[in-house]
Symmetry: C2
Subunit: 341 residues, 2 copies
DNA sequence: GTGAAAGCGCTAACAT
DNA sequence: ATGTTAGCGCTTTCAC
């Protein structure tokens, strides 16, 4: 049974309140007393009981994070790195991460299932705030949380609803793809194709805009060079097949590593060599991009920085500090590997 | 501000304790009263305050999990799938996962750093128990927790110390590799090489034993066919180079997908075709194995089942139920892809 | 079957 | 600068 405030107080020869002050308002104590109390804390290995502190202060020092199901048969592995970065950033701010999942195990059925995890934690005052990760099209999480005045910050811009007033942190996908496209232009490529997602995807449109921007700046036409397909390996492969059989690009930029891997499949089937015959660039710097034979050049999101900014925003939010920067946009980098030369 | 027991009691026209009973001991109430209370709970959207309940019952319904740093430039991605499986399994048992990290950010320096996260959570009674994931050589976590009588279950056998009495769940790596080797034997391979880890790794030795077992059962010699190297892509590539230049195996089984990808590198550099010229099998069924062009045959750990068993053991432990099965050993499966024919 | 009283460990407000 | 009092929301005796 861990020691309590009373145990420390007795040992130090002071009252419980003085021990509490020694922890939360050390400047209130006379140095001599403070030292004595700290010695007692040290000797007993005392740590404040979190439940009691939580009950009293109404702060759990817990941040809720919904963990979306791990996607297999894709190269979308950003979550792993992100969660770890978040654990680190939270720890430095004195917070822990509380994980929960969406609906009843299987695929996210209704919007209610998706929101149930948030609702439970909110009503039971289990967490101080949430970090929301999927802000893409049709996701009701942010609006639902806003309506309920639940404290949260989002990884991802409020694409659908620019009037949303919650703090957010995002990565500038357009800038990342522009970087990738410029990299290919610099290497002498002229016909650079784009494989992206459906038009309804804001993130997909954003990333595509980077390609368009770089191509326009270089005075290169883009007609027939863009395809919109699903975010799967097979879709990427099929899209590459179509492009290679028609417009014959010398380089292909993709909205994701998953699609880029599909392109690698297509090249392999044709006996073409990535980087030598056709350059390929992906997005997310997944483990797959890092270790696939030859290496896949990819846009890397600064997830560690994203985590730090998210926690910073959260601290400001919970402290009700004026947080002027409503949104923070971070710039990705490019990890250059064999697939681009 | 969420409603409290008192609010529900007032609305239902009963006392607070009756509401508490309605939640925790429904059979104590007369059906009519119970119904009225439940209606009030429903109408108010009442959820017990977790901090208060925790303080009173000394049960946080939180499970602590240390998240080891995500390894980049490897194919070791089992953690992602495992954490998600654990969140699901915990949820069904009424628990949430609390994430923490090891030392002060950077590489795990001392053993004390590693243990500090556990210590903090334990002393502050933040979690009811831990799930420990790295039980490999030289890891002090389990012994430290045992000494402190901290409730925990381990994913991984107590290799070093078979006298350890904590519950554990593990995957039979030897059986998995045996499965893989048998699969290759069935396809007509005779010279099947092994690329594994250092002799000091219990897990590595276990997996290797599966290869030895299958080879012995088939009456195949193994001389010169085994290599011990680090768990990196480069080490796997170099080991494959050595093997292909010497004993010329027709198939290579690896202790990890990371090493197996290294083998793929070696084959690619030699213009050899995985599966046609040389068969390759990895371990972990990582995203890399799943999407790499051609596909990498790999041993797949039943992580969802592992998570379920871990939580089951934890429940028994916390309920002080007699949990006779000290350890549970689960059998992996083989995901067959192009690299093995 | 239901209600009254006590207390988990802590901190905020006040008194000294 | 330190001690006293009260109460956060819940469950656990123990009366009735």
């Amino acid at each position: 049974m861990p020691p309590t405030l009373a145990d420390v107080a007795e040992r130090a020869g002071v009252s419980r309140q003085t021990v509490s002050n020694a922890i939360n308002n050390p400047d209130l104590l006379r140095p001599q007393t403070l030292e004595r109390v700290q010695a007692a804390i040290q000797e007993l290995g005392y740590r404040p009981n979190r439940a009691a502190r939580h009950l009293r202060t109404r702060a759990s020092h817990l941040i809720g994070l919904r963990l979306p199901p791990a996607q297999e048969f894709t190269a979308n592995a950003a979550m792993d790195r992100f969660v770890h970065a978040l654990v680190e950033a939270s720890r430095e701010a004195g917070y822990h991460l509380l994980l929960f999942s969406g609906g009843p195990g299987k695929p996210e059925t209704t919007a209610e299932d998706l929101v149930r995890g948030y609702d439970d934690l909110l009503r039971s005052t289990a967490v101080d705030a949430f970090i929301v990760t999927d802000t893409y099209l049709g996701n009701p999480q942010t609006r639902w949380l806003s309506e309920r005045h639940a404290p949260f910050v989002a990884f991802g811009r409020p694409w659908e609803d620019p009037d949303e007033t919650h703090p957010w942190v995002d990565v500038d996908g357009a800038a990342g793809v522009e970087l990738a496209t410029q990299h290919l232009l610099d290497r002498g490529h002229e016909r650079i194709a784009w494989i992206g997602w459906a038009e309804t995807s804001f993130i997909g449109q954003d990333r595509r805009a980077g390609w368009e921007r770089a191509m326009a700046a270089a005075g290169r036409p883009t007609d027939g060079l863009a395809v919109r397909v699903a975010d799967t390996v097979d879709a990427g492969r099929e899209a590459a097949d179509v492009l290679l059989d028609s417009v014959r690009p010398s380089a292909i930029v993709c909205a994701s590593d998953t699609q880029a891997v599909g392109v690698l499949h297509s090249l392999a089937a044709r006996g073409l060599h990535p980087g030598r015959d056709v350059a390929v660039v992906g997005f997310d710097d997944s483990q797959v991009a890092q270790v696939v034979p030859g290496g896949l050049t990819s846009v890397r999101q600064p997830l560690e920085q994203v985590a730090i900014e998210l926690v910073r925003a959260l601290e400001a939010l919970l402290a009700r500090e004026p947080y002027d920067a409503r949104g923070v946009l971070l710039v990705p980098t490019l990890a250059v590997r064999g697939s681009s030369g």
